[in-house]
Symmetry: C2
């Protein structure tokens, strides 16, 4: 055995995440490691909380990054708020609703499933019926932006229904944070988690979360201990909490946090509204180009996420060959379909730093060429012309 | 609000971890992010597993880094192997034995505690008695290198006892891996976890683990699902396993894994035995210097970890002032005592890249000066002379 250092190629990342990482963030990751209790590091943590409060649009003191990827952020919400025997209404319209169900059952609680078709948003009428039928449900859990399909659900409307029935909300914003509007306090969301590697354009590995006062009250009044020691927010907040001496819980991922801090500084500099507009701006150009190529979207326009463009693979086209062509010829990654949509769709991300004109044009050029290699009816020229027309409109 | 990018100072890290990170590793962290299912990334994952097999001295296929810090590695071992109603013999001789107990009780199992004094190794006689008294205990859990005290327990002897009683071992090697001998297969350890930020000298945030065939058999024959979805190795191995299509579980922390890969390349280049010798070599010089300063060690020489030097704070010396002096005057971090040892001891790490002559001398110089500022009887010159004599011996 003699393994050499790993020198990754430069890719353009237009899959469902990770997205392209800004050079500023990569540079921040390489800054000198300092201790997790260093007074200067603690100052950085306080700034990080403020930056996350801005990104989530919340004043909640319990706003911080979990030291693990988004799936651990999801688990943090469920294990801290839900106890064995509780009922949770779980909305499933893609992969991540199914993952929420797993989280509910693994704490010994009952998941009451509301199913919508993949590609559709969560149906508020079904949610209202479930809230009426299960008045003791402790929480309503749903995905704001389904990464497996590209569908946006109406988080504000769903949260209003939950509030009217005195039910907590647990909300997946992994793919939405920084890409489309989220207003945690304004909408009254209770336990919200996200990921670093989507529209924040940081490297993967961290999961920002925020808990409302209602959620904190529920946490503080549990009957049983949180089943995960690592994710127990009662303990974690001894390290991340404010107005107290920071006590060691686990060793924070120092350099990863440097990266997230830088990503959030970039978001702050651009401004939330400007970031949302930018995602939509480039989405419209990409949409125009993809439609000119003859591709159709999985999700109807009114529920479509600008940052995750799910399109149907045309008949007769070999999915794997196209993605291999993109990767090898253009250094471009797009996403395959998950679960029942494997082989049926592509997921083209325009997240964070990836949401820029050069990426839109590279994608249309390369995808047109890859499709054209299998069927000469496809033309990248037509796609690029349509995108340019959209940019100039 | 207008928060600026965070520019950390350059520190010398000689606490209980994180240790100094090699510039090579920081540079690796800043390499371009690629996708977690990119064929080249999957190749890197395969190399990572080989490198970890070397570090742990095992052939086990279930050898990989958990995508979260060492505490999550600990939890991975417990939630995958232990079920509600099981009995686990837990050896406690410092903070991390206590944390193991928390992990046992939070899966609904019974922790049978074997207590040894802080600073002492785990007593094999007590372990043997417990194994006899509790013949149905599913596992024996102990810490190889107690980070809170600097004591090394005899992992080989403890594992032999467990095997004689057909009991699994769960072993914390967070502070030992790469710093002192570990022979997972030779000693027959079953579930072993470590951390990236100690003697591997990587940034914090990842937890290498390895499971023996016995442990894998136990995992595959569970009666109940693993209570953590994120840490469920049945699922995680769909992504990290070999000889199969890698399927998405969670988004791996790409750039952090670049760092760990580089750290393990460095370990491979140096060689395990050479790394262990280097830790001991610099420990002997530091020990000579600390003793010349009049400081006494918490742990007897035969159980002392070279990579974690716990020394008693002399009477009349202000703990916090000394550490503040070191940080502000010399940019040097050493560790405070934890739990009952807070204010009683310092923990001086010589881990990984920190285990070098320049660090030993910086530490003795700065510590002598900081002590001398409170009591002129302390002299850094005496300490440095003793260390030099040791280096020349």
């Amino acid at each position: 055995m003699k393994i050499q250092p790993f020198l990754p190629p430069k890719r353009t990342l237009m899959g469902p995440g990770p997205s392209d990482v800004s050079p500023r963030i990569l540079e921040a990751m390489a800054r000198p490691t300092i201790g997790h209790l260093d007074p200067l590091f603690v100052q950085m943590m306080d700034e990080m909380k403020q930056l996350l409060q801005y990104a989530f649009q919340t004043q909640s003191e319990l706003t911080m990054p979990v030291s693990a990827p988004g799936s651990a952020g999801m688990e943090t919400c469920f294990v801290n708020l839900i106890e064995a025997g509780d009922q949770v209404i779980v909305c499933s319209n893609g992969v991540f609703g199914g993952r929420m169900k797993e989280n509910v059952t693994r704490v010994g609680a009952e998941a009451i499933m509301i199913e919508d078709e993949w590609g559709q948003p969560v149906d508020p009428n079904k949610v209202e019926s479930a809230l009426k039928k299960y008045p003791n449900a402790k929480a309503l859990a749903f995905v704001h932006a389904e990464t497996s399909t590209g569908a946006r659900s109406d988080a504000k409307a769903l949260a209003q229904l939950a509030q009217a029935h005195h039910t907590l909300t647990i909300v997946d914003t992994v793919t939405s944070l920084g890409g489309i509007e989220i207003d945690v306090d304004g909408w009254g969301l209770d336990a919200v988690y996200s990921g670093s590697q989507k529209c924040l354009s940081c490297t993967p590995g961290l999961s920002p979360i925020t808990f409302s006062e209602r959620a904190q009250h529920t946490l503080q009044n549990r009957k049983s201990p949180v089943q995960s020691w690592f994710l127990d927010l009662n303990l974690v907040m001894g390290y991340w909490g404010s107005n107290q001496k920071r006590s060691y819980h686990h060793t924070a991922p120092i350099n990863a946090l440097y990266g997230l801090h830088e990503a959030l500084c970039i978001l702050q500099e651009e401004g939330l509204q400007a970031a949302w507009q930018r995602h939509n701006h480039h989405h419209q150009a990409l949409r125009a180009g993809l439609e000119a190529l003859g591709l159709s979207f999985v999700v109807a326009p009114e529920y479509r996420l600008p940052q995750l463009n799910a399109v149907k693979i045309p008949d007769g086209i070999d999915d794997a060959k196209v993605r291999q062509h993109l990767l090898e010829q253009a250094g471009l990654e797009i996403g395959a379909g998950l679960g029942p949509m494997a082989g049926q769709i592509w997921r083209i991300g325009l997240m964070g730093h990836s949401a820029q004109e050069a990426n839109v044009k590279l994608c249309l050029q390369a995808l047109g060429d890859a499709l054209g290699a299998q069927n000469p009816d496809f033309s990248s020229t037509v796609a690029l012309t349509a995108a340019n027309a959209q940019y100039e409109s």
